[in-house]
Symmetry: C4
């Protein structure tokens, strides 16, 4: 399978998931037509925005991972489908969270769901950047760095889940800190990425 | 991220949103099988057509904005996701409007939602057309013009919301005037666009 | 707007509509887990298959129309969006038909909806094949022929609607005859298409 | 129709179907906000994961089939739409299975639905690889082999349906064995595929 078709298919799934999230945000027919009805969907809106931003960050991360992939072999193909499976699952805990924004169970399930995506992301990254000889050496540090960047949020989600039983809203803020970290300008990430791209581009490689 | 992939992802989201709008237009199972049941969905149909046309205009505007973008940097990437977030939100007030076509609250929420999209559009436009030196000078007037074109509908939506409490249907007509303005042949817009494209194309730039 | 992007966007909408049709085919939670529950969705399945095939034929027709389009100007762009609007509407009468398969009202509404798509198709075709001078002459006969091919089903749908009050199932068979006509091998259509393509390809034209 | 556009449209439908599957997995509003609510969706989750993986395998198989297609003629075009029709249907038995995981009727319907997809896949494969003269000879063995690979799961699904009345969960495991077979490293499949690709690539052919 050419890398380009895998990217296009993955982009399609990301675009559909990010848009389907809104299907769970609806003012109920019994809500009436006054401004008060808007209050009914505030928790759903909050859960929607959080998941939209997080899926957006995953989409950008997926693109950056695939940039370093030379060829799509079978293990990478199925690991990528596993990653997409975890992304497609995100609307389920999002909808639950939208109904019970302060429920420790919903917050924990939400964090667990995102942790699965991050774990699958690590797998895709390791399988996609297996290289041999000098090539492997040039990227080794970056591969380890990005693995860590993908794994670290799992610790944040675990901390958020533990916190959820004491202070559920603080827990949600902790979750929101993860995409914020990736969206804000970040000198360390940028420098590392640029260096790795330069190292990787040294020998011409097919796209 | 190459501009082409950002466009493809954005196009995907626009296509999904414009199609999902129809999910809220359904003759209820209790509506029966006679022609009278069609009357039940007239308000939903009106809200659907209005939003379909508006999202279509946003899609064309998005394409024209990205035409002038040279490279996708981080700020533009996240501003574009913010724009998509506001587009994905449009089905929510549309569905509410479909249930309460004459409700001032629903009309105001609808206008506020569209205003967010226009504001995000201004941001994408300003971030996407930052240039340096002579390049910046050549497009300066056009950049200011398009910013104004994106900002002006916000005033119309505000006027529509104010009017909604007195004459809700006049308010909806005012909203509908915005996409109509962009769809009808428009000598000013066309002349400006062509001049800017010519100015921009002077030095060869990758697409 | 380049023709290619218009095609990709339209293809996206066609793909989403053709898939969303299935959302209205669901065994209700009260249907139970025995084979009898399958009988409950037979009318929905029939309506789904009919609409799936019809939208598939529209998709192929759209592709063939765009093949002869040289450039996308504003009128064509908005006519194409109008066509997509009528395609996006198809799930509404389909869902109604799935609930009331023998209802003359539902059958008439379904035929009326498809007629709108055919009328919009005629518009897209005429706007997309406006040519000047010798070019126009070479395709003139084919343009008129295809206009007729797009318009003729409207007569069939009108006949079907009239028949619906006497024999609703015969009416549905009449509707089904339209896509069948386009799917079955058809020497007239094929010869005409090939001749037009040859005439059109004579001078090199951009894609 | 160029092969590339058929692939893009098919990919779009596959991506939408694989994502829509999740719409039937939702914790009901009456489920509450405690961990117990998660138990309510376990059968739905199981059905979702099974179908996600199966549709993923179909997507990869579709790609591999189209790799050997030289040109898209009318019969192949409609056979491919038939294949997509059966893929779009998969969410219906999946949703039913999610409600009644141990129901022999739901398990049989699910297997029957997948069998239709496999049968349509055989048709696409035979129509897509019709060749003439020496070309036909070179691929003959592979064409027969892949036909068998597509047909064999139908026997498994039939066995699963028969087993469903005695041991429904064993039946589901049997279904799950089919995608597992294609996902696990498979020396026979790989060797055959590589040999066929080499034989097919001998004369340059357009893509």
């Amino acid at each position: 399978m050419p890398k380009q078709r895998l990217e296009a298919f993955s982009d399609g799934v990301f675009a559909i998931v990010i848009t389907l999230l809104i299907l769970d945000v609806r003012i109920p027919p019994t809500g009436g037509g006054s401004f008060g009805a808007l209050l009914l969907i505030l928790p759903q809106l909050a859960a929607f925005v959080l998941s939209f931003v997080i899926v957006g960050v995953y989409w950008v991360a997926h693109h950056m991972m695939l940039h370093f992939v030379r060829a799509v072999d079978r293990p990478l193909l199925w690991a990528n489908l596993l990653l997409l499976l975890t992304v497609v699952l995100i609307p389920v805990p999002t909808a639950w969270l939208g109904q019970h924004l302060a429920s420790p169970a919903a917050i924990t399930a939400y964090g667990a769901s995102l942790s699965c995506t991050n774990a699958a992301g690590c797998l895709v990254w390791r399988l996609g950047t297996r290289r041999h000889g000098a090539e492997a050496g040039r990227l080794e540090g970056y591969v380890r760095f990005v693995t860590w960047v993908h794994a670290a949020p799992i610790l944040v989600y675990a901390a958020g889940a533990a916190l959820a039983f004491a202070a559920p809203y603080a827990s949600l803020l902790l979750y929101a800190a993860v995409p914020t970290f990736f969206i804000l300008p970040n000198r360390v990430l940028d420098t590392r990425l640029r260096a790795a791209m330069a190292a990787d581009a040294a020998p011409a490689h097919g796209h």
